[in-house]
């Protein structure tokens, strides 16, 4: 006799699981990863593998300490991969390993594991490495040379010497920078794939990148350069869209994207760092509970709140 399952609504059936989404994200990151390896050589591959292994190992140890079972749901792999993609290509492997371990242990497991983290773990790992080893974290390899010729990133060049890199280079990826932020086109392919599969919401990347572009246009900067340079694309498609650390409502997500965009513009134009994507997303992560509390969807059946009606009723 089949069991009668009584459960509260919604009675929707979908085969989407955590594993499925996570592995789709990994597939979406393949073009970006391939671009990184192509432009910066095989050391990049070692950095990526180190980060993933270190993230998995840390998650295993942390979950064992917490008395939980380790589940291979791919989230630690994503954290490791995303962290590796926002590291400089020539970073020593032990630093990458410490960064990934820190990201998992302190940003994810210390808050209670998958689904409970307040901040994006990969970005916390990056911020930690940035604060710990600032010199190693800002040593950039020249693309396609495959040895240790250091150079400035497009944003660094723009900030220090006022040299603009042609947008075509930024789109294809023939520029120095973090492993995953070279080619905007490769990131766009992966991002569109995820949006088409409806795993991520288009509102966050659009409002985030759009805000940066429009504000830069208003402030007299080259909007195309600022959209394509730095980690904006990587952050907008893969980090600002993480489920746990971003608002759940559509309106809240637009607020999130606009806020992060404003912070990026402020950091790039006024701040000390050339790029501000990492900190902008981390700061907006902190605001996410606040946004969620204030932007609530209308309860079904309740009349739309009109300003005039509500003030007349008072």
């Amino acid at each position: 006799m089949p069991e009668l399952i009584v459960s509260p609504s919604p009675h929707l059936r979908n085969d989407v699981s955590i594993e499925k989404i996570m592995y789709s994200v990994i597939i979406a990151l393949i073009p970006t990863t391939a671009c990184g390896v192509y432009f910066f050589g095989v050391h990049v591959l070692y950095v990526i593998i180190t980060c993933i292994l270190s993230a998995l190992f840390t998650e295993y140890v942390a979950l064992r300490l917490m008395g939980r079972k380790f589940v291979m749901d791919g989230s630690a792999v994503i954290t490791g991969l995303l962290l590796a993609l926002c590291l400089p290509p020539g970073l020593p492997l032990w630093m990458a390993a410490i960064g990934a371990a820190f990201a998992i242990a302190f940003a994810k497991c210390a808050f209670g594991g998958l689904g409970h983290n307040i901040f994006n773990p990969a970005l916390v790992g990056r911020a930690f490495l940035m604060a710990s080893w600032p010199v190693a974290m800002t040593t950039w390899t020249k693309p396609l040379t495959y040895d240790a010729i250091t150079t400035a990133t497009p944003l660094g060049l723009w900030k220090m010497q006022n040299i603009a890199t042609p947008p075509i280079n930024l789109a294809l990826g023939n520029v120095s920078g973090c492993i995953g932020e070279t080619s905007a086109l490769a990131i766009l392919i992966g991002g569109v794939f995820l949006i088409a599969k409806r795993y991520i919401d288009w509102r966050i990347p659009l409002s985030y990148i759009g805000t940066v572009g429009i504000l830069m246009l208003i402030l007299g900067q080259d909007p195309l350069f600022h959209i394509l340079a730095g980690g904006l694309f990587l952050g907008a498609f893969f980090m600002a869209t993480e489920y746990v650390t971003t608002p759940i409502t559509s309106k809240g997500r637009i607020i999130f994207g606009v806020g992060a965009g404003v912070i990026v513009v402020v950091i790039r134009l006024i701040g000390g760092y050339p790029g501000g994507v990492c900190f902008s997303i981390l700061l907006m992560n902190a605001f996410t509970p606040l946004i969620d509390r204030h932007v609530r969807p209308r309860v079904y059946g309740v009349k739309r709140k009109s300003f005039f009606v509500s003030s007349a009723n008072r």
Partner: protein, 202 residues
């Protein structure tokens, strides 16, 4: 053995840093180097013991409406003594501790012990309590300073003597900054709680 309890409770069971979570301001600022931490804990030791004894002696004469100002006056006098003494005899340490030396006045451990213990208990108990709490504070701050100095400079040197030679060429700058202190406190606290939870579970 009740009086021995007054001494040992501050060291382990009610450790002012990891259990009561008091006095974090000097802890964050001064625990970057082990010798700074030792200097600070010496200062706290002297002020805590003296103020606890004095406040306990006068506990029947201090009107409870104005007890906090009275405590502060007593504590501030001893802090001034420590500051002038260090300025005269250890100017280098005085320079490094800087503003955090006079700020011992507002160290919550000292005011907290005066309010919670010395103003209610006999002199000898207060004396033991202050010694226990000072040892607990010293253990905490020196332990944290050991971690932070080792990780942020790659070696440990106390008053010019190298205890641990350089073991890493590129130490972490962040451990020198306040986040490093918070992280160290958090990790040690987590380990202590982990141990005590496991003990209770057994």
């Amino acid at each position: 053995m009740k009086q021995l309890d007054e001494l040992t409770k501050g060291v382990f069971k009610y450790n002012p840093i990891f259990y009561l979570v008091l006095g974090l301001c000097p802890l964050l600022a001064v625990s970057t180097r082990v010798d700074n931490a030792l200097g600070m804990s010496l200062g706290v030791f002297f002020v805590l013991v003296s103020s606890n004894v004095i406040i306990s002696l006068f506990r029947h004469w201090i009107p409870s409406q104005v007890r906090i100002p009275c405590f502060i006056v007593v504590i501030a006098s001893f802090v001034t003594i420590v500051e002038l003494f260090m300025h005269g005899y250890a100017p280098e340490l005085h320079e490094r501790l800087g503003i955090y030396l006079p700020l011992i006045v507002v160290n919550c451990i000292i005011l907290g012990r005066a309010e919670a213990f010395a103003s209610k208990k006999p002199v000898f108990d207060s004396f033991l309590d202050a010694i226990g709490m000072s040892i607990g504070f010293t253990l905490g701050i020196v332990g944290i300073a050991l971690c932070r100095e080792a990780l942020s400079t790659g070696k440990i040197a106390i008053f010019g003597y190298t205890i641990i030679p350089t073991f890493t060429p590129s130490p972490s700058v962040m451990m020198l900054l306040p986040p490093g202190a918070f992280l160290t406190i958090g990790v040690i606290m987590a380990l202590i709680n982990y141990r005590s939870i496991r003990k209770e579970g057994r």
